[in-house]
């Protein structure tokens, strides 16, 4: 396993480099350093000298990928790409184009994102599994049919509708929780109630359908018939036999998203004023802050690679038949 992990880590380097180059190319196809300077300097009294000065101060007056005029290795290092991207591999994210340290901002904003995403994931998982098991328990009854129709309806509605309706009904009409906001520590609880509830509700339709499919596959297997023949009740069969066996695909599906929980949900954070990484990224895109954009894309890529690696490892833990080679 150690060799496998080392090999996967080494494979990640060219992948991340490719992601960096692609991000760089895509960003600068759309925006030039002049454009970025104008965005930062505002609209009043901006002339060419001010733009040139801004580009020089931020290192955007260098060539993009290759500095033909520089000597030796500086042909590569004295370029925008190298100056802005090399430090990423050491997790040195540098300073944003508006002057803030990106690493400090990421550290600060990751936790609010996690504070919403992790409870949503865990509670959502529990609720989805319970509802799916209920539907399997009451299969071929009105409850299952009604449940399926309800799941499709829930899946068809946009999450934005859930957010606005949830805020309107629970926060404005019933006045049970604040409409938006955030606080530190345990005081965040009342602010997280509504976004977590909405997050769970919005994912209910798709989650229940998916888990129901997994459970139905297991329910038809021989070991389940054997369990029933031995006299176990339906609920005992489902919870003690079907659920553990169906957990393998569930677990691996959950593990892959765990690292990405830090990245946050853009819409949720915007509407609930949660200072997370989702809104951090979209603000950077809107203000053409390349420094933040490339840092967040890199971070997302690293977390995704990490998630895939954890998924492979978790396979070996839950299924003894699987061995990494």
């Amino acid at each position: 396993m150690i060799n496998y992990i080392i090999r996967r880590t080494v494979y990640a380097f060219p992948l991340l480099l490719g992601v960096n180059i692609l991000t760089f190319a895509l960003f600068f196809i759309v925006n030039s350093p002049d454009d970025m300077a104008r965005m930062q300097l505002g609209q009043k009294h901006v002339n060419e000298q001010a733009i040139a000065n801004w580009k020089h101060q931020h290192g955007y007056d260098l060539p993009m990928l290759w500095n033909a005029k520089a000597p030796a290795e500086e042909k590569l290092t004295q370029t925008i790409f190298f100056q802005k991207s090399a430090g990423l591999f050491l997790f040195r994210f540098g300073v944003s184009d508006s002057g803030r340290n990106i690493g400090a901002d990421i550290q600060e904003r990751a936790w609010p994102s996690l504070a919403v995403a992790l409870p949503t994931l865990i509670i959502g998982l529990v609720v989805d599994i319970c509802c799916a098991l209920m539907m399997v328990l009451f299969r071929s009854s009105y409850l299952e049919y009604a449940g399926m129709v309800l799941c499709v309806m829930l899946m068809s509605i946009s999450s934005l509708f859930y957010i606005i309706s949830g805020q309107y009904f629970i926060a404005k009409v019933l006045k049970l929780v604040p409409i938006s906001g955030y606080d530190n520590g345990l005081a965040a609880f009342k602010f997280l109630l509504l976004p977590v509830l909405i997050g769970v509700f919005a994912g209910l339709g798709s989650g229940v359908r998916w888990y129901r499919t997994l459970f139905l596959e297991e329910v038809e297997k021989d070991y389940v018939r054997t369990a029933r023949a031995k006299g176990l009740s339906e609920t005992q069969t489902l919870f003690r036999h079907v659920l553990p066996n169906a957990m393998i695909p569930i677990l691996t599906g959950v593990v892959v998203v765990l690292p990405l929980l830090f990245m946050g949900s853009l819409i949720m954070e915007s509407f609930f004023s949660i200072p997370g990484l989702g809104s951090y990224t979209i603000d950077a895109i809107n203000s053409q802050d390349f420094a933040i954009v490339r840092a967040m894309v890199f971070l997302g890529s690293v977390l995704y690679v990490l998630g895939l690696l954890l998924t492979d490892i978790s396979y070996t833990l839950v299924d003894p038949r699987v061995r990494l080679s």
Binding site: H45, F138, A171, L174, S270, S273
Partner: protein, 720 residues
């Protein structure tokens, strides 16, 4: 019934009972469950406001947008300020003892009389004297040991490792404000690393500014304090002098902007230490001023808090104002010590829906009105007057409107072959378009009536603006009865015919004339507006082709002179007509000089009058010259004068001393809040409602019970 009761398992019942008890317990103290603020954070008078976009800069040398001024205007104090109540806007001393002494000098440096000819004036000196006894807010940059050394000016990496914000610095200190601090800030404007947005402007005015900028390019900022700038002298501890080139009366307005606030050299010495920047502890995020408030918390991702400055100098509410101010209760606090509010909490709210609802719940003290909530708040009476809706009245909410010192216009590129130039043909074409584009309709449809159709380049409140019949644009409007009426479309068509485009047909092609409208408004939401513009041109038979691009491509077209028609706007830096007319001054052409004359308009008669007018005081003669300039640009029509935006602001009944002042950045110190009245209203408006939750729980149980019954019957049947 008992069979159904027996279906209900015991454990879930215990859980439900526990939940009911919790709810009951909560409802015993169920006041304001939806309060987003902590109860222990509200001692004293606290004002709650919101901000939509985090400020990029709080360094007064760099900050230039209104969302940044909302903070630094309360923290930094330039020598002058705008009087809060008097109109028209006028400057009064803030940290200065009086308005500056202004001396004119010839090329040899000899003093000239005050009425000297402009051509004779080579330099102008502004002599400013500040009041003694003003102190900076307590700050670690100014903290000194018993021996007189600075506590925190020599931090190493070990010291910095344990620090995460300014609050982690235990020791703070203060010192007196001196003239040196004002001089140092002006030098900071010149430092290339700071990239001050007004550096390029000041190079043209302050003597020695450009040379100084080049000399300090590779120096640390705090080292500038020892280096001289030719046009800047510190005469004594409380006096300094700024020398500018020529005569520029509007320079005094710049002195009322945060750019010319004081800055202690200790701030740069402290903040520029390596390692602090990595923790986001910079002057750009933690200001250091002498103003009524200090920035106690800066989390631009969540909230920013201004706290009363304990070392703020004595400052008092004005005792004079306009005639109506006394009736409106704006002079009740005359002579009282400022500020009245202890703390101002700004919360980040990106979306209008939660922001609006929190305002209605009383959790924000003031609000603008977004388009989607306009109908909830505003209604128009039969005669077109604006009033609040009944729900707003019931909550005691008040409306305040103000015409901004701004203008939005449809511009013509005067270098263009079709619409540009001052020939009779092109002028009549532009005049016809100006009549056809009905901005009264635009304001009604797209602004919910929040605007005033512009008659010229000057908005209300700026010297030279004329009301009524004397102020209408006679090319576009007729004065009938007691109001201006837009000329008919037939008159516009007549002008088109005289211009050689009868019925909108281009004589060269025999097809409808095609004009190109360049705009950065490329989103889905902009389509109705762009369609509206198309329809205005269709009235003349002209085909308007929309060339929508992103903002940067649009800017490029404007710089290169490739745009034909465009929309632009301008917000006044200061309340002087020069700040508007310079947008049409020939030597300010965007294409030729990179200036602010975005339409590249050039009329030598207008330019001569501008050069004469710009340095004059506000006299009758100046007024007459301004009317002549207005007449020229109305005739030439380089712009279709669009509208001056009107702000609609809503305030709760407990928020007092409010008067619109579009020039002053430091209004918060005059505001007053009644926290007791606010607490009562919030309690009344925010009683939680629990019964729907019970209803939902009962419905769920009723839904599941038959299924449980059916399952049990099935299980018993199997056993049987």
């Amino acid at each position: 019934m008992s069979s159904y009761l027996s279906l209900i398992p015991k454990r879930p019942i215990r859980l439900l009972l526990l939940l009911a008890l919790c709810l009951a317990g909560v409802s015993c103290d169920s006041s304001e469950l939806n309060n987003p603020y902590r109860a222990d954070e509200e001692p004293g008078a606290v004002l709650y406001q919101s901000f939509e976009e985090r400020p990029k800069h709080l360094d007064p040398a760099v900050a230039y947008s209104s969302n940044e001024y909302a903070f630094i205007g309360q923290i930094y104090e330039p020598p002058f300020q705008y009087h809060y109540l008097k109109r028209p806007y006028q400057l009064s001393p803030l940290t200065a003892t009086k308005l500056p002494e202004i001396h004119y000098l010839n090329a040899k440096g000899e003093r000239l009389p005050d009425d000297a000819a402009i051509s004779a004036i080579a330099f102008t000196d502004y002599l400013i004297e500040i009041k003694p006894g003003f102190y900076y807010q307590p700050h670690p940059a100014l903290a000194k040991t018993a021996r007189g050394d600075y506590y925190y000016h020599h931090l190493n990496s070990v010291d910095i490792a344990s620090l995460n914000s300014l609050a982690d610095f235990i020791h703070t200190g203060s010192r007196e404000l001196t003239a040196d601090d004002y001089s140092y800030q002006i030098k900071r404007l010149a430092h290339p690393k700071l990239q001050s947005p007004i550096a390029e402007i000041m190079k043209n005015y302050i003597v020695g500014f450009d040379d100084f900028s080049q000399r300090v390019a590779d120096k640390a900022k705090f080292e500038m304090s020892a280096l001289p700038m030719t046009g800047l002298s510190v005469i004594s501890r409380y006096q300094y002098r700024i020398r500018i080139k020529g005569k520029y009366p509007q320079f005094i307005y710049w002195l009322a902007m945060p750019f010319f606030s004081p800055m202690p050299w200790e701030a740069d010495a402290f903040y520029d230490q390596p390692g602090l920047r990595d923790k986001n502890i910079t002057l750009d995020w933690f200001p250091l001023g002498t103003g009524p408030y200090l920035l106690a918390e800066n989390n631009p991702n969540r909230r920013m808090i201004l706290q009363k400055n304990p070392l703020y100098h004595p400052d008092y509410y004005p005792s004079e104002g306009e005639n109506a101010d006394r009736q409106q209760g704006l002079l009740k606090d005359a002579g009282k010590k400022l500020p009245f509010i202890d703390k101002v909490v700004f919360m980040l709210e990106k979306e209008t829906i939660p922001y609006w609802n929190k305002f209605l719940q009383g959790y924000y003290d003031a609000s603008g009105i977004a388009s989607d909530s306009f109908d909830q708040a505003i209604q128009f009476t039969g005669n077109g007057a604006i009033t609040l809706t009944e729900p707003m009245h019931q909550q005691g909410i008040r409306l305040q409107t103000a015409v901004e010192t701004s203008i939005f216009y449809l511009g013509f590129n005067m270098l263009d072959a079709t619409v540009g130039g001052l020939s009779e043909r092109a002028t009549k074409l532009r005049q016809a378009i100006a009549i056809a584009v009905d901005y009264e309709e635009f304001i009604s449809i797209f602004r919910n009536g929040r605007g005033l159709a512009a008659q010229g380049v000057l908005p209300p409140g700026i010297f030279g603006y004329a009301e009524g019949k004397a102020g209408i644009n006679p090319v576009i409007y007729d004065w009938t009865g007691d109001q201006a009426r837009r000329k008919s479309i037939d008159q516009a068509k007549q002008l088109m015919a005289e211009a050689g485009f009868a019925n909108g047909v281009d004589p060269k092609t025999g097809e409808p004339l095609i004009l190109y409208f360049d705009t950065p408004a490329a989103g889905v939401d902009d389509r109705p507006m762009l369609n509206w513009y198309r329809k205005q041109f269709e009235k003349l038979g002209v085909k308007l082709v929309i060339r929508a691009t992103d903002y940067n491509r649009f800017q490029e077209k404007m710089r290169n002179g490739n745009a034909q028609l465009f929309i632009w706007g301008w917000n006044a830096d200061y309340p002087d007509p020069e700040n508007f007319f310079f947008l049409l001054y020939g030597p300010n052409s965007k294409v030729e000089q990179g200036g602010e004359n975005s339409g590249n308009y050039h009329n030598s008669g207008f330019d001569r009058l501008f050069e004469q007018m710009r340095n004059m005081d506000n006299t009758d003669q100046r007024y007459q010259i301004i009317q002549q300039m207005q007449a020229i640009i109305r005739h030439d029509a380089p712009w279709v004068f669009g509208f001056h935006p009107k702000t609609f602001s809503l305030y709760h009944s407990w928020y007092q001393n409010l008067k619109p002042n579009l020039m002053a950045n430091n209004r918060l110190k005059y505001m007053r809040i009644d926290p007791v009245a606010r607490a009562e209203k919030r309690l009344l408006w925010n009683k939680p409602v629990f019964w729907p939750l019970g209803l939902i729980a009962v419905a769920l149980i009723l839904l599941i019970l038959p299924a449980i019954q059916s399952y049990r019957l099935r299980a018993q049947a199997k056993l049987a």
